[in-house]
């Protein structure tokens, strides 16, 4: 074996051999294992068209689905001190952060955007799960504060969309302090009588679920999303009892009184829009009576 066989031959082969179908055109549904064609999946808001399983969706696609006409204005997320604890595990946190930034093109695990939903002004703060598991550190906390301030300034509703494993361990107690901090942020929105809606997506756990995510005026969850405080494995190891299959799913939380509604992704724009309209547009011209509408 030498550089000829190692490098040149594969290159030549790749030139002469017919190109295979790229993997990313088709993918398997995590739940039913049905094959999904990428274009059909995208047109179905990343929901499996065989079984209805909600696959993860990028923040960009998510925002396009929620805002009217897919139109919105992105806001910069604020700067915070960089790795103040100088955290190091097997790798330096500062390196991890830099790598993740260059890999994702994001500054941290949060995107803030504003626009309208069914005509009502809304600020959305959405977690990027692809950025260190959507974990909450100072940057995420500061972004939520900024989103809340923007909602108040522009008399908009605040919608936060967690997709997060919880606190960012590498920021230790600073990440813990984001729990009260984010609660203060949403408290300010409430004091201004503006709606604060939480859209719980997969996953919402740990310090994220135990702070701003559970004090919304309205809690909406996506079907099948994992929502809970302690992880399933931790609970099994602690209490050593069998847990039901649907433990900590959105539907389970609905049955236990923790969320208001479980809404399929394709209907989120409509449902959230209606709620905002009801809360922010309290008087409107009555529609024609139902009977007349049907006749027409």
């Amino acid at each position: 074996m030498n550089w000829l066989t190692n490098i040149i031959r594969p290159r030549i082969q790749s030139l002469v051999e017919p190109k295979e179908v790229p993997d990313n055109l088709w993918q398997k549904c995590d739940a039913c294992e049905g094959m999904l064609f990428h274009r059909d999946l995208k047109n179905n808001a990343n929901v499996c068209y065989h079984c209805g399983h909600h696959l993860r969706i990028t923040v960009k696609e998510r925002l396009a689905l929620l805002f009217d006409g897919g139109q919105y204005e992105k806001m910069d997320i604020p700067d915070v001190p960089f790795d103040p604890l100088k955290f190091k595990d097997r790798k330096k946190y500062s390196d991890r952060l830099k790598d993740t930034r260059s890999k994702t093109g994001l500054k941290d695990a949060m995107t803030i955007a504003k626009g309208t939903i069914k005509g009502q002004p809304a600020v959305i703060a959405a977690f990027n799960f692809s950025f260190m598991g959507g974990s909450m550190g100072a940057a995420v906390g500061e972004s939520i504060v900024k989103a809340a301030e923007e909602a108040i300034k522009t008399r908009s509703a605040l919608i936060i969309i967690p997709a997060s494993g919880g606190a960012r361990m590498q920021e230790s107690v600073i990440s813990l302090m984001q729990m009260p901090r984010t609660i203060i942020a949403v408290e300010m929105v409430k004091e201004n009588h503006l709606p604060y809606i939480v859209l719980l997506t997969d996953p919402t756990t740990g310090g994220v679920s135990a702070s701003f995510a559970m004090v919304g005026d309205i809690h909406i969850a996506e079907p099948g999303a994992t929502i809970g405080f302690a992880g399933r494995r931790v609970i099994q190891e602690t209490v050593r009892e069998e847990l039901p299959d649907d433990f900590q799913t959105a539907e389970y939380l609905l049955e236990h009184g923790m969320v208001d509604r479980v809404v399929p992704r394709q209907k989120l724009h409509d449902e959230i829009g209606t709620i905002l309209d009801l809360l922010m547009n309290k008087k409107r011209t009555p529609s024609a009576p139902k009977s007349e509408q049907e006749a027409a």
Binding site: L176, M177, M214, G228, F229, E241, L243
Partner: protein, 316 residues
Amino acid sequence: MNQLDFEKPVLELEGKIAELRHMNSDEDGMNIAEEVERMTAKADRLLQSTYSKLTPAQKVQVARHQNRPHFKDYIVELIEDFTPLAGDRNFAEDHALIGGLGRFNGQSVMVIGQEKGNDTESRIKHNFGMTRPEGYRKAQRLLAMADQFQIPVITLVDTAGAYPGRGAEERGQSEAIAKSIESCLRTHVPIISVVIGEGGSGGAIAIATANKVFMLEHSIYSVISPEGCASILWRSGEHAQDAAAALKLTAQDLKSFNLIDDIIDEPIGGAHRYRTETIHNVGIKIQAALDELSDWDKDKIVKDRREKFLKFGRDI
């Protein structure tokens, strides 16, 4: 036996001293009193040198020491007429978190905190200080009561974390913690928190969103236990010592980042050796904090607490 490995040389010396004292009527001519004195001085020096350079991992051990004074010990020493108030009025009484009215240096106060228990039976009763949703909902109820009657609140934090169990999840552990933090933030009377042992993550901050937050010298406060952190980030629990250091969980670390207001000294040798002295130090600090906040009006108290927590992560 609950011995700390790094205290072994001291404990051995102390054992020898006790033995010597026991044979004080020995007739071999050796001056036992002198020897005892010499060895006691040596033990003191050893203790001092050990405790002046405890590693973070050692502090974790000290913070969890079973002889360390727990919630109930503080009540006995510091609070008169303590009247525990039970139940969340919805589902159950949670013995992991105790709360009630009492008098601290003559002043009516609401005291809330986790109790870990000190023997097998009481540990089980108190669920090792791991609070369920009902405990946090009881805390919310008592915070509202303190607000209603304008009574300052003292919270003593000592928990490995909120209880991870099926029932706790079903009854909304996350919501209970979140609402407990929210209740702290809405309370118009001073809240003084002291981390007396372990400040375990969400389970701790739920009752520690306070105007003044103090930590005992060898207590710890962290977003995750060193063991948990090691198993996730190092993929092995064996790295708990490294995790303890990386997490910056000691009182000294938190003070250096201004995440707490102050450190309360423990006598050399730790709270588990000098229980009453430690509790006394805590009492002095709480009184000083109450004095400082005594003439603040209710809006200033809420505003101060908010501003304090809003800056964490921004200015560090």
